[in-house]
C-alpha cells in the first residue's frame, strides 16, 4: 500500500529585543528568577499592554525575508485559557490578522528544489518558565512576555528530509537576519511537527499527530521518519491512528505518546480591546526592508558568482554565518577564494572542533589566513608545511613569523633541487633501472628520497617534475 505523507510545522521563535513584547521590563536570559518582570508580565490587576517597536521591526524583517505579504495594520487578539505559566489567563496574539501571510522558502530535496509555503507569521508573547521538582513546581516570570513570532507552514512537506531542510532553511534565514539566536536546544526556537498519512487516492487527510519537544534539527528528521513508519504499521494492521500529542525520545529514536488530544480546545478568541489597531508607516517598512542584512539565498548566489565556489562548499560555508563572514574578511586580502574556503572547511574547522571553539572565539585573524594561502600559492611553503602552522595561526600568530621561527620554508630553488635530484638518482641506480623497465613506482620512491634529503622542505611538485625530467634524461 502506498501512502501520501503530509507534514506541517509550527515554529515559535524568541526575538532578540531589549524589552518584552508588551512591557518595558528587560528581556534578559539567565538572570535570577523574577528579577526581569513588572506588573504587566506578572498579570497584576490593572496593568495594560504596550507594544514594542523593535519586536514589530524584527517581525517585519522575518516576514520580508520569507516572502510573506505584510498587513500594514497591526491588530491583536486574546487567546483565553488557564495555566500556571500564563500570567493574565490569556495570551495576546494575532489570531485573526497575522502580520504576514502567504510566504515560502525553497529547500533542496533529492528530487530537486522544492517550494515549501508558509501560511502565516504572527506576533505573540511567551509564557513563564516552570521547573518541575519532585513535589513542587516553581515559576519564573522572567520569560513571561518575551516577544515571539509564530511561523506556520502549509502542510507541504512529505518526508523527514524535507522537514529538516525546511526548518534548517528557516533557521538560517532568521539567524542571518539577526532577529533570534534560533537555538533549539535552548528553547529560543521551538518546533511542533504535525504528521499524517493517507493511502494514495484517499479523499481526506489522515489523522494528524503532533510531535513536540524536539531539541535539534537532526531529531526532527528522525522523529518524522519514525512517526511515518509507526502510522503506516498501524494502518497496515487495520488499526486507526489516534489523534495524539507525542514527544521524541532521543535515546530510543521513537515518538512516545504524551497525551490524547481530546477534541479542540475553545480559546474564545476575540480582539484585544486594550490595543487599538496600529497602522505601520509604509516608509518605515520600506526602510526596514532596505536595510536588512544579506540573506543566505542572496549570499549563496553571490558566492557562486563572485568567488566561483562549488555548491557543496558554499552550502557548508553559509551554514555557519560567522564562518562565511570570516571568509569574506579573509578574501579582502586574498585572490584565492577556493584556497581560503578549503582551509576554513577542513583544517581550521577540524581544529575548532578539537578545541571546542568557534570561528568567533578563536584567535585566528582573517588576514593571517589570507597570508598563509598566499605563501602556499607563491611556493614559499608547501601545503604540508602549512599544516604545521595551523596551531600558530589559530592562536593568533603571523604565519610568516611562525614559519620562520620553525625553520619551515619550501625549497623552490631549481638549482638546489636539481643538485639533490642528481645526487639521489646517482645513489639509486636500481630505481633508475626500474623506471626504465616501466615501473612508475620508482618515481615516487625517488621523490621521497629527495624530500628526505631536503628534510621535507623541497617543493614536492617541483621535485616530482625534476625527478621525471632527470630520469628521462638518464634513460633516454
Amino acid at each position: 500500500m502506498e501512502y501520501n505523507v503530509t507534514i506541517g510545522i509550527e515554529i515559535h521563535v524568541e526575538l532578540k529585543t531589549n524589552t518584552k513584547m508588551f512591557s518595558g521590563a528587560p528581556a534578559s536570559f539567565g538572570r535570577r528568577a523574577n528579577t526581569c518582570t513588572n506588573e504587566v508580565d506578572l498579570g497584576q490587576p490593572g496593568a495594560m499592554p504596550c507594544l514594542n517597536r523593535e519586536a514589530v521591526r524584527e517581525a517585519v524583517e522575518a516576514c520580508t525575508a520569507l516572502h510573506l505579504t505584510i498587513d500594514p495594520v497591526v491588530r491583536f487578539d486574546r487567546k483565553n485559557y488557564y495555566y500556571s505559566d500564563l500570567a493574565k489567563g490569556f495570551q495576546i496574539t494575532q489570531q485573526f490578522h497575522p502580520l504576514g501571510r502567504n510566504g515560502y522558502v525553497m529547500i533542496d530535496t533529492p528530487k530537486g528544489p522544492k517550494k515549501i509555503r508558509i501560511n502565516r507569521i504572527h506576533m505573540e508573547e511567551d509564557t513563564a518558565k516552570q521547573f518541575h521538582m519532585t513535589k513542587v513546581s516553581l515559576l519564573d516570570f522572567n520569560r513571561s512576555g518575551i516577544p515571539l513570532i509564530e511561523i506556520v507552514s502549509e502542510p507541504d512537506m512529505t518526508s523527514g528530509q524535507e522537514a529538516e531542510a525546511y526548518v534548517s532553511e528557516l533557521r538560517q534565514t532568521l539567524y542571518y537576519l539577526g532577529v533570534s539566536d534560533c537555538k533549539m536546544e535552548e528553547g529560543s526556537m521551538r518546533c511542533d511537527v504535525n504528521v499524517s498519512i493517507a493511502p494514495i487516492g484517499a479523499e481526506h487527510l489522515g489523522t494528524k499527530n503532533e510531535i513536540k519537544n524536539l531539541n535539534s534539527i537532526a531529531n526532527i528528521g528522525k522523529a518524522v521518519d519514525y512517526e511515518v513508519e509507526r502510522q503506516k504499521k498501524l494502518l497496515e494492521a487495520g488499526e486507526k491512528v489516534q489523534q495524539e500529542t507525542r514527544r521524541f525520545d532521543e535515546a530510543s529514536g521513537t515518538t512516545v505518546m504524551m497525551r490524547r488530544k481530546e477534541g479542540n480546545v475553545d480559546y474564545k478568541f476575540f480582539p484585544e480591546p486594550n490595543i487599538f489597531p496600529i497602522r505601520l508607516d509604509p516608509e518605515w517598512i520600506r526602510g526596514i526592508q532596505a536595510s536588512m542584512p544579506e540573506l543566505p539565498e542572496a549570499r549563496r548566489q553571490r558566492y557562486a558568482k563572485e568567488y566561483g565556489l562549488g555548491e557543496h562548499d558554499i552550502n557548508i560555508l553559509i551554514a555557519n554565518k560567522e564562518m562565511s563572514e570570516f571568509f569574506e574578511q579573509a578574501m579582502k586580502g586574498s585572490k584565492n577564494p577556493k584556497g581560503i574556503c578549503n582551509w576554513l572547511l577542513s583544517d581550521i574547522s577540524a581544529w575548532l572542533n578539537r578545541h571546542e571553539q568557534t570561528i568567533v572565539t578563536c584567535q585566528l585573524k582573517p588576514q593571517n589566513l589570507a597570508k598563509l594561502v598566499a605563501m602556499i600559492d607563491d611556493g614559499k611553503i608547501s601545503s604540508k608545511q602549512a599544516k604545521e602552522l595551523v596551531d600558530d595561526l589559530m592562536e593568533g600568530r603571523d604565519p610568516e613569523q611562525a614559519a620562520s621561527a620553525k625553520g619551515l620554508q619550501q625549497l623552490s630553488d631549481t638549482s638546489a633541487i636539481d643538485q639533490m635530484v642528481s645526487e639521489v638518482l646517482t645513489a639509486n641506480p636500481q630505481a633508475i633501472a626500474d623506471f626504465a623497465a616501466g615501473k612508475d613506482k620508482a618515481v615516487g620512491f625517488l621523490v621521497g628520497q629527495v624530500m628526505k634529503r631536503s628534510r621535507g622542505q623541497a617543493n614536492p611538485a617541483m621535485v616530482s617534475e625534476r625527478v621525471r625530467a632527470e630520469l628521462k634524461k638518464r634513460t633516454a
Binding site: G43, Q44, M48, L139, I275
Partner: protein
C-alpha cells in the same frame, strides 16, 4: 476646592469625618492615614491639600486594593495607577479607598465583600453602583472629589442617587493604567464632585496622555475652568424621547420638563428626539454581553497564584478553582459563566459579535443625532435610590427599565463624554439628569451642566447623614 493653607488640618478632618460616618454609610473599604502624603505635599498643585477618595479598583502602591472582591482582600499593589500619580503630583491627598460592587460588576453597591454601602440622604437606601462608595463620600461632604469608574453607568447612576456631579469623560481622556478593569472597551475612569467648577479642575488634573495605556489620547488638555461658559444661546439639546416616555414616575418627568423649559428660557434649542425603539431596548442586552464577555477574560488573572487570597489544593487546577470559588461572590461567578458562554466559538457570532454589531448601530444612531444637536439629555433614572431591603433580585436581567434605567451605556459604547448633575428631590432623596455630548466636547458638557447648576441652585449640595 480651595487651595489655601491648613491642608493638614483639612485632610485630617476629612479622615476623621470619614471614619465617623463609616458605621452609617459603610462607604469605605480601607482608610488611608493622610500623614505620610502630607509630609510629601508638593509646593504647588491644582489640588494642593485637597482630600480625596479613590474607588477601590484604583491601584495604590503599598495600600491594599481590593476591587470590592474577597479574592483581592489581601492584595497590596507594588505600583500606582497613573491617576494616583497625577493626583499626588497635583497635591491631592487620598484619605480612603471606597466601597464598590465586586469587580465593578453591578449597579447597586450591594455586592462589595465588606457589605452594602448606604445612601447619605437616606441610609435605608442604596447608593447605586458600582462606584457607590465614592458617590457617598462626596455626597456626605467628607471630601470634595472622589474617583470612580464607569462601564455602563457606574459613575453616572450613583451620582444621580446621591445628588452629586458624576463625570464620565471621553474614552481615552483619562488613562486607565492601573485601574482594575471590568470591560476594557467600555471602561472609563470617572469622578464625583459637588460642583461643575470642581469637575473642571478635576478633569484638568486627571486628563492626559499616558504611553502605558495604548488607548489613551494625546489630545491636548484644555483649561476647562477657564473655558467654562454657561451661555446657552445656540446650544441645541436633544431630549431622548424614548427614555422620558419609558419613565413611570410622572413627578420625575415633570421635574425634567420644567428644567428643559428653563434651558429654553436661557436661549437653548431643546427638542425631543426619538431613537429607534428596538435599538434603545437593545442597549442593555448588548452591554451585558460585551461587558460580561470582556470581564470574564479580564479576570482570568485572579487565580491566587501570584497575588490575592490563595486557597490551597493538591495541584494548580485545585488551587485556582478553590481560590476563585471562595474568592468570587455568587453574582460574579454567574456573570462569568454567562460571559464565557457568549464567547464560545459556536456562540460568538450569535451572541458576542451580534452585540458588537448592535453597538455599532447604536453609536451610528447617536452620531447621526449629533449632526444636528450638541447634547443628548434625559433623566438619569426614573426613580430615587431604591431601598436596600427590596426583596427584588439584585441582578435581574429584566425587560423592565431597559430604557429608563439602563440607557446610559450608550455613553460607553460611543466613548462620548457624559455627566450626571442633580436635578431635584423626591421624598428627600435626589434625582439626577444626564447629559452626553460629542467626543472631546467636555467643554460643552460642562457648560450645559453649569447652566443647569445655576437653574437648580444645587452647587455644593451635600447631605447631612442621619
Amino acid at each position: 476646592m480651595k487651595n489655601a493653607g491648613g491642608a493638614a488640618e483639612r485632610c485630617q478632618d476629612a479622615y476623621a469625618e470619614a471614619q465617623k460616618l463609616q458605621e452609617k454609610l459603610n462607604d469605605v473599604i480601607t482608610f488611608v492615614d493622610p500623614a505620610e502624603q502630607l509630609e510629601h505635599l508638593p509646593e504647588q498643585g491644582l489640588m494642593r491639600g485637597v482630600p480625596i477618595a479613590l474607588k477601590d479598583n484604583v491601584n495604590t502602591k503599598g495600600i491594599r486594593t481590593t476591587a470590592g472582591s474577597r479574592i483581592l482582600s489581601n492584595y497590596v499593589p507594588v505600583y500606582n495607577a497613573d491617576i494616583a500619580d497625577r493626583l499626588a503630583a497635583a497635591g491631592a491627598v487620598c484619605i480612603a479607598k471606597t466601597s464598590m460592587d465586586e469587580l465593578a460588576m453591578g449597579g447597586t453597591n450591594l455586592t462589595c465583600f465588606t457589605g452594602a454601602a448606604h445612601n447619605p440622604w437616606d441610609v435605608r437606601r442604596m447608593t447605586g453602583g458600582s462606584s457607590g462608595g465614592s458617590a457617598a463620600i462626596v455626597a456626605s461632604g467628607v471630601v470634595p472629589m472622589a474617583i470612580g469608574s464607569d462601564t455602563g453607568d457606574s459613575v453616572r447612576k450613583p451620582a444621580a442617587y446621591c445628588g452629586v456631579v458624576g463625570v464620565k469623560p471621553t474614552y481615552g481622556r483619562i488613562s486607565r493604567y492601573g485601574i482594575i478593569p471590568y470591560a476594557s472597551s467600555l471602561d472609563h475612569v470617572g469622578y464625583f464632585t459637588r460642583s461643575i467648577k470642581d469637575a473642571c479642575i478635576s478633569l484638568q488634573v486627571l486628563a492626559g496622555r499616558d504611553d502605558r495605556d495604548m488607548t489613551s489620547s494625546d489630545r491636548p488638555v484644555p483649561d476647562y475652568l477657564a473655558e467654562l461658559s454657561d451661555d446657552m444661546h445656540g446650544k441645541r439639546i436633544a431630549v431622548i424621547g424614548n427614555v422620558v416616555e419609558s419613565i413611570q414616575n410622572e413627578k420625575t418627568v415633570k421635574m425634567f420638563n420644567d428644567l428643559m423649559d428653563q434651558l429654553r428660557a436661557r436661549g437653548a434649542e431643546v427638542d425631543v428626539y426619538q431613537f429607534d425603539e428596538d435599538l434603545m431596548r437593545a442597549i442593555l442586552p448588548a452591554y451585558y454581553l460585551i461587558a460580561n464577555c470582556e470581564a470574564t477574560s479580564n479576570h482570568s488573572n485572579l487565580d491566587g497564584i501570584r497575588f490575592g487570597v490563595r486557597e490551597e489544593g493538591e495541584d494548580m487546577q485545585a488551587i485556582m478553582t478553590n481560590s476563585r470559588t471562595k474568592g468570587f461572590g455568587p453574582l460574579i461567578r454567574r456573570r462569568f459563566v454567562i460571559g464565557s458562554y457568549g464567547l464560545f466559538q459556536e456562540n460568538q457570532e450569535r451572541l458576542f459579535r451580534k452585540a458588537q454589531k448592535v453597538r455599532r448601530k447604536i453609536v451610528e444612531a447617536m452620531m447621526e443625532c449629533f449632526r444636528s444637536y450638541d447634547c443628548l439629555i434625559a433623566p438619569a433614572s426614573g426613580e430615587i435610590a431604591p431601598l436596600i431591603d427590596t426583596k427584588a433580585d439584585q441582578d435581574q436581567l429584566s425587560s423592565d427599565y431597559l430604557v429608563a434605567e439602563n440607557y446610559m451605556a450608550m455613553g460607553n459604547f460611543s466613548g462620548c463624554p457624559s455627566m450626571t448633575v442633580p436635578m431635584g428631590f423626591e421624598e428627600g432623596c435626589p434625582l439626577g439628569i444626564n447629559l452626553t455630548c460629542r467626543p472631546w466636547e467636555e467643554g460643552t458638557m460642562f457648560g450645559i451642566g453649569r447652566a443647569i447648576e445655576e437653574i437648580t441652585g444645587y452647587e455644593n449640595l451635600h447631605a447631612e447623614v442621619k
